[in-house]
Amino acid sequence: MNFKTLATSALALSLATGVARAETGAADVIGTYADIAAAAYGDSLSTAQALSDAVDALIASPSEATLEAAKAAWKASRVPYQQTEVYRFGNAIVDDWEGKVNAWPLDEGLIDYVDDSYIVSDENEYADLNIIANPQVSIAGADVDAGTITPELIGEVLNEADGIETNVARGYHAIEFLLWGQDLNGTDPGAGARPYTDFVTGDGCTGGNCDRRVAYLRAATDLLVADLQEMAANWDEGGAARAEVESDPDGLLRILTGMGSLSYGEQAGERMRLGLMLNDPEEEHDCFSDNTHWSHYYDGLGIQNVYLGHYTRVDGTLVEGPALASLVADIDPELDAEMRARLTTTMEALQALADAAEGGFAYDQMLAPGNAEGEALIMGGVNGLIDQTKSIERVVTALGLAGIEVEGSDSLDNPSAVFQ
C-alpha cells in the first residue's frame, strides 16, 4: 500500500529522468539487484529443502538429535531468507506473497497446545483453537473438517482465519513454533523447549495428538518449500518479478523504497522498538527459537547488500555487479560516503546485539523492564536504522535532482498527471 503511494509519485518520474545521465547505468544496477534476489531466494529455497529433509528424518526417527538437526536447518534457512526482506516493500509481487512465508506475530494457540498462562484477548477468538487437538472446529460460523491436516487446510482455511492476521498457520514462524514450542522463560534466558517426544507417534507420545502434530509439521514444511520455489522462479531469468523491475522506468525507486521502508517502519519500528517498549518477550521476531538477533542482523545486511551491489551466497560464492552506490558516488560522493557509513554503523550495532545474545545475554533479557544495557543495545540498532533512512531519503532526492531535468517533467508541468 505504502509502496504504491511512493512508487506512483512525482519523484519517481523525476528520478528516472535524472539518473539516465549518470555514468553507471540504472539498468545495470537494476540487473545486479535482480541477480541478488535470484541468488538469495534460491538460497532460501535450497536451505528450506534441507529443512524439509531434516523434518523427514525427525518424523522417521524422533530423537533429541533429529530434532536438533531440524532446528539447525531452520536457523540456517533464516540466514538467506532474512536477506531477501529488502525486496519486499519495493516489489508488490513480493509483498503480496510475503504473508505466506514470514507472517508474524502469531497467536500460536491456533496451532497447538499452549501453557495455561497464555491469554486469549478479545481481538482473536481463535487464538486457542488448537487445531492439532481438534479435528472438528468452527470458524466464523462455518464447520471445518480438520480430520486430515493438509497443506490446503493450513494454507486456505486456517491461515488468517476469519481475516485475523495473527492467525498465522503457515510459514517460518509456524514451523518455528512446531519445532521449539512456546518460550515460557519470560524475560529470562532460554528458548522454547518442546521435547522430541511430541513427535513420537504411538506409545511415548507427549503433548497429545502426535500423529496430527507430525502431519502439521510435514504439511507446513511442504508449503514453505512450494512458496519459496514460486518466489525463486519469479526472480530467475524470465521470471515475473525480474521482468517487472527491469521494465519499470522507476526501478531504482523500488530499490530505495524497499531499503527505506524495511529500515524505518518495519525493522526499527515494528520489530525492534515496539517489542522493547512493550517489554514483551513474545514480541521478539523469532520468539520461540531465540534467533531474533540473527533475524535483525540479516535484515540489516540485506539492506546493505542491495546498496553495495553484492551478496554472499550460503556456499560462500559472491554475487556482485554494478551498484547503486556507484551511481550515487557519480553524482554526490559525499552522500555516498554518508550512506555507506550509516549502513556500516547499523551493521556494527546489529553485530553488537548478536554478539551479546550469543554471549549469553539473551534478547528476552534485553527486553525486560528497566534493563538499561539491553535497551541500549536494541536502541543502537533502532537509531542506526532511523539514521540510515534519512540518508536513503537524501539519495532519493539526489538521484531525482541530479539531472536537473525538471523542465519537461510531468510532475511540474502537468500536475494532474501525477496525482491521480
Binding site: 516493500f89 527505506g260 511540474l412
Partner: protein, 326 residues
C-alpha cells in the same frame, strides 16, 4: 518551467518562514496545550479517581493530544509511543491491565518504575479501557484500579511535560537552524520542510487507512471492535480532529493560502456530520458503512489538495513514514 522557478524561489528563504510558522502556530502550542490538559486530568484524578469523575478531563486531554498526536519526529519519534499504543491487534492493553490488577502490582506506587511498564499498559489507550470498558470501569474509590488511574494520569502528565519541554527547549531549535553548518539533522531548509510535510501526509494516511480502515475491515467482514478509542466513543471525533490538525499544520507550513485544502476540509466535516454512531458500532449496516467510506474519500481529497497546494509548489515529495511496513 514556471513552476520550477516558483519552487526554487519558495524553497530559498520563505520555506524557513514555514518552519517557524509551523512551530509557533501549530506544533509548540499543541504540545503546551496537551501538557496543560493532561496535568488537569492528573489533578482531577488526585481529587477523585473513579471513572465517571475522569471522563470529562480525559476527553479534554485526548482532544488536546489530537492536535499534535500524529507527529513522529524529533522527541515524538519515540516519545509518542507510550502515549498512544494503538492499534493493538493482540490485545496487549487488556492483558497488561489485567495482569497489573490481578497481581495488585506495587509498580504503580513508583513513578520511575512505572515508566518502564509496557507501553500497552500506559497512556491514553490504557485509560480508555480502564475508564470506559465495563470490565474495568466500575472500580471503587479505594481500589487498586483507582490508584492505577491516578498513576496512569500522573504518568501521562509527566510524559506530556517532557515532550513539551524537549520540543520547546531543544528540537524546535534544530528545525529552525536547518541548513546551518552545525546542523547535522537537517542539511538544508528543504529537508526540514520536507520532514514536516511528511508528518502532515502520514497523519492523513493513518486516519484513512487505520482510524477508518480498521473498523471498516472488508465488505464481508466489518470490524467495529477495531475502531480507535471506541470504548470512550471517540472514534469519529479522533478522525475529524486529526484531519483538522493536519490542515492547521499545513496552513502554518505554507506561507500562502490553501483554498482547495480548506474546501476539501469542509467536505470532510459534511461527511462526518452524516455519520450516526461516533464509535462506528453500526458499521455492519450498509448505509452506515457507506458513510464512513465517503469520509475516507473526503480525507483522501484533503491529501490530494495538500499535495497540489504545497508539495507541487515546493517540489516536495514526502519521505518515509513510520507507518511504512506491515
Amino acid at each position: 518551467m514556471r513552476h520550477f522557478l516558483a519552487a526554487a524561489l519558495l524553497a530559498a528563504s520563505p520555506a524557513l518562514g514555514g518552519v517557524t510558522e509551523a512551530l509557533d502556530a501549530h506544533i509548540l502550542p499543541g504540545y503546551a496545550g496537551f501538557a496543560e490538559a493532561s496535568a488537569a486530568l492528573a489533578e482531577a484524578a488526585g481529587a477523585d479517581c473513579t471513572a465517571p469523575a475522569l471522563a470529562a478531563p480525559y476527553h479534554a486531554a485526548f482532544d488536546a493530544w489530537m492536535r499534535v498526536g500524529d507527529i513522529r519526529m524529533g522527541p515524538s519519534e519515540h516519545g509518542a509511543l507510550a502515549i498512544v499504543f494503538w492499534p493493538d491487534a493482540r490485545g496487549f492493553t487488556q492483558k497488561t491491565l489485567q495482569r497489573l490488577i490481578a497481581a495488585q502490582d506495587p509498580v504503580i506506587d513508583d513513578p520511575a518504575a512505572f515508566a518502564d511498564v509496557s507501553i500497552a499498559g500506559r497512556g491514553l489507550f490504557a485509560l480508555d479501557m480502564l475508564l470506559f470498558d465495563t470490565a474495568f470501569s466500575g472500580y471503587a474509590p479505594q481500589s487498586y484500579a483507582c490508584r492505577l488511574a491516578q498513576r496512569l494520569t500522573a504518568d501521562l502528565a509527566a510524559q506530556a511535560a517532557a515532550l513539551d519541554a524537549e520540543w520547546a527547549d531543544s528540537f524546535a531549535a534544530v528545525l529552525r537552524s536547518a541548513g546551518a553548518p552545525d546542523n547535522a539533522t537537517y542539511l538544508s531548509e528543504q529537508e526540514a520542510v520536507r520532514a514536516l510535510y511528511t508528518q502532515i501526509l502520514s497523519s492523513l494516511e493513518f486516519t484513512r487507512d487505520s482510524r477508518l480502515g480498521n473498523p471498516l475491515g472488508t465488505f464481508e467482514r466489518p470490524r467495529p471492535a477495531r475502531a480507535e478509542a471506541r470504548r470512550s466513543g471517540r472514534s469519529l471525533r479522533n478522525a475529524v480532529a486529526a484531519t483538522d490538525a493536519a490542515v492547521e499544520f499545513a496552513e502554518a507550513l505554507a506561507d500562502w493560502e490553501l483554498p482547495a485544502t480548506r474546501a476539501a476540509l469542509d467536505l470532510v466535516h459534511e461527511a462526518a456530520d452524516k455519520i450516526g454512531d461516533p464509535a462506528f458500532a453500526d458499521i455492519d449496516d450498509l448505509g452506515e458503512r457507506f458513510k464512513v467510506e465517503v469520509l475516507q474519500q473526503k480525507i483522501q481529497g484533503v491529501e490530494t489538495a495538500i499535495e497540489e497546494e504545497i508539495g507541487l509548489v515546493l517540489g516536495l515529495q514526502p519521505g518515509f513514514n513510520s507507518q511504512d511496513g506491515d
